[in-house]
């Protein structure tokens, strides 16, 4: 933790809606070290995007209440004045988004949009901005960068547009890149390219990366550590090995169980987690996963803290079950890790 670049503590984000306060993030704590890649996994509405948009101050609005600390490079971004936070965005922290088709302004040429990102933070000449833009487009693997500068976004393919987004996010040499579902909207073959590109750039430039995704399969290729989020909370955090080989939270088991795998018999049905994620306006008392969990017992209405329970240092989870019980009940009838209530095996 000593080398943490970003350290989020007890982050709460609540949106005031017509139906009442919606708590999108309730008490999330996570940190990223310099040069490290952290994966944040969770389904839509788990708060993973909101938490990271909040880091950049992009959720600040009159109807949003934000509390907690967001320490970045010695400063608390949660309380930083808007103008100072603006100078962090796109400069110290770059961000790319899910849909590259809609994330670039359709009316402006790529060159102009890139130059704008530089000029927002640096006083450079048009020529320098141009040189830097060409350099970055080359870096992210766009052929003929000079010619491409004078083209509009609609003249680029989806994968190429995401490369432009990455170039734009990295143009000021940020210390941290937040990638919010960067491959979700892309073809599978392109997905792999973009992930590899992010991993390569991460190594080359030595920046830290937060990779947000709903797909555990995406995470496995590039990240060092994983946070699993569910209904506004981090329910499990650990290394890639912790999460894949000794998962502690039933929700993580569900995620692992629903992965498509080529080493699994083709006849077996893809499993799913039953039920719907809870309403964030009126979440269940205690553990948020309780209503969907076949292993819930009488202690679950009490909120489990995020603690180290598995025995592996730094492997945290929010589940009351004893680690020994977990290692038994997470094995499904097919012998793999999954979320299933089996006869005779009860916590």
């Amino acid at each position: 933790m000593s080398d943490a670049l970003l350290s989020v503590e007890d982050l709460e984000v609540t949106f005031e809606t017509d139906d009442g306060p919606l708590r999108a993030v309730s008490g999330a704590s996570f940190s990223v070290d310099r040069g490290e890649t952290l994966g944040i996994v969770g389904e839509s509405g788990s708060g993973k995007s909101v938490a990271n948009l909040t880091v950049l101050g992009l959720t600040r609005a009159p109807n949003t209440a934000i509390s907690g600390r967001i320490m970045f490079d010695g400063r608390d971004l949660a309380t930083l004045p808007a103008e100072e936070l603006r100078r962090v965005r796109g400069n110290d922290i770059g961000m790319i988004f899910q849909d590259p088709l809609t994330s670039l302004h359709p009316f402006y040429k790529i060159g102009r949009q890139l130059a704008e990102a530089i000029n927002a933070h640096r006083d450079v000449s048009d020529n320098e901005a141009r040189e830097r833009s060409i350099e970055l487009l080359g870096l992210v693997g766009i052929p003929e960068p000079e010619r491409r500068l004078s083209q509009y976004p609609h003249e680029f393919s989806g994968g190429m547009r995401q490369r432009v987004m990455i170039a734009m996010a990295l143009i000021n040499d940020p210390k941290l890149l937040i990638a919010d579902e960067p491959t979700t909207a892309l073809d599978v073959t392109i997905q792999a390219q973009i992930l590899r590109l992010i991993a390569e750039l991460q190594e080359r430039l030595g920046m830290a990366v937060i990779l947000i995704t709903h797909d555990l399969g995406v995470i496995v290729q590039v990240v060092h550590r994983v946070n699993v989020m569910y209904a506004g909370r981090i329910v499990e955090a650990g290394t890639l090995d912790d999460i894949f080989y000794d998962p502690q939270h039933p929700y993580t088991w569900g995620l692992l169980g629903s992965l498509t795998r080529i080493d699994r018999a083709r006849t077996s049905r893809l499993s799913q987690i039953r039920g719907q994620p809870p309403s964030l306006i009126a979440p269940p008392q205690g553990c948020h996963f309780r209503p969907r969990c076949p292993h819930a017992f009488d202690r679950c209405p009490e909120t489990p803290p995020l603690e180290a329970r598995s025995g592996s240092p730094g492997h945290l989870d929010r589940c009351w079950l004893e680690p020994e019980e977990k290692r038994v009940v997470r094995i499904t009838s097919s012998g793999e890790i999954g979320l299933e209530a089996r006869e005779g095996v009860r916590a």
Partner: protein, 320 residues
């Protein structure tokens, strides 16, 4: 692009032709006062009326009248003679056009100057007290009939009958001789004509702006650290203003076509709208026909300008 423009111009001409045919038919098929009777005067006998009808060429078959008229218009730019004024229609319209154009131009400047900033501020400060106040005001302005608003402003501010005689009142335009005199006379009419449009444009831009500000590329603009001002003006307004351009083109076209009729009537401005009104009252077919054709011409022209402007505003639009 050039081919597109040529095609559109040819279409425009065809449309003008069809418009005149429709007007001609409407006038001849639907009941209207007989121009010959009106022209001949109160005590005219049947013979005199027949004589007038013959002089005006109204006793010929409709298709002959129509063909003659079309030939004159398209080959000689001649719109015939007014039955009432006994004066060339083209000259009548050209005399009135500057007043209307001046009225419309000033009103456009005012409604854009008020409507656009209001819409932007309202969208950015959405749900604030300011937003609510501005939207309530705009609703009132849209609902206020032009003639009522005109009379209220005259009653309040006109130099001849107002409680606070600040601005020239009714009829001042016709009496004014200098450019500045005319401009001064148009201050109240400008605001009356601009009021509803300013309100409509404010609401239109507001909703368009609210949609745009929720776009992903606005989030990108913020994420790269642009100042909020730049995000709003260069990324937000730039996109939100595009549909407003369409609206503006259509509005200028219809106003020049005589749609300023109420404002011109209330303030006694000798423009195309008032000419149209008197011509309708007197069944002066050639004048009505001429004004409608001019109007159609303006509407078609401004539509074309809008479409061409679109190609420059939105790089994704390419005509062929």
């Amino acid at each position: 692009m050039l081919r597109y423009i040529v095609r559109r111009v040819l279409w425009g001409i065809a449309l003008l032709f069809i418009t005149s045919a429709v007007i001609f038919l409407i006038f001849n098929i639907l009941p209207s006062a007989d121009p010959a009777v009106l022209r001949a005067g109160r005590n005219a006998g049947p013979q005199q009326i027949a004589q007038v009808r013959h002089t005006l060429g109204l006793d010929r078959p409709i298709y002959v009248q129509f063909a003659d008229y079309m030939r004159a218009v398209f080959l000689h730019f001649d719109f015939g003679y007014s039955y009432q004024y006994n004066y060339p229609v083209r000259a009548l319209i050209f005399q009135r056009l500057p007043a209307t154009a001046f009225l419309v131009a000033g009103a456009v400047v005012i409604w854009l100057g008020i409507g656009l900033p209001t819409g932007i501020v309202s969208a950015v400060k959405r749900r604030s007290l300011l937003d609510r106040a501005m939207m309530a005001t705009s609703l009132a302005l849209i609902s206020a009939p032009v003639f009522w608003l005109g009379l209220v402003l005259l009653y309040l501010f006109a130099q001849d009958l107002g409680r606070f005689p600040i601005f020239p009142g009714q009829g001042a335009y016709a009496e004014a001789t200098t450019f500045f005199g005319r401009a001064e006379a148009l201050i109240l009419p400008w605001f009356v004509l601009a009021a509803a449009s300013a309100a409509i444009y404010a609401r239109y831009l507001r909703s368009s702006m609210i949609d745009v500000m929720a776009e992903d590329y606005i989030r990108t603009a913020r994420a790269k650290g642009l100042p909020e001002r730049t995000v709003i003006m260069r990324h937000g307004v730039r996109s939100a203003i595009t549909p407003v351009v369409t609206l503006l083109g259509l509005d200028i076209g219809t106003l020049l076509a005589g749609n300023a009729i109420l404002t011109e009537s209330v303030f006694n401005i000798p423009g195309v709208g008032r000419l149209l009104l008197t011509s309708i009252e007197r069944s002066d077919l050639t004048v009505i026909q001429g004004i409608v054709l001019f109007g159609a011409f303006f509407i078609i022209t401004f539509n074309l300008i809008v479409d061409i402007a679109y190609a420059f505003l939105d790089p994704r639009v390419r005509y062929q």
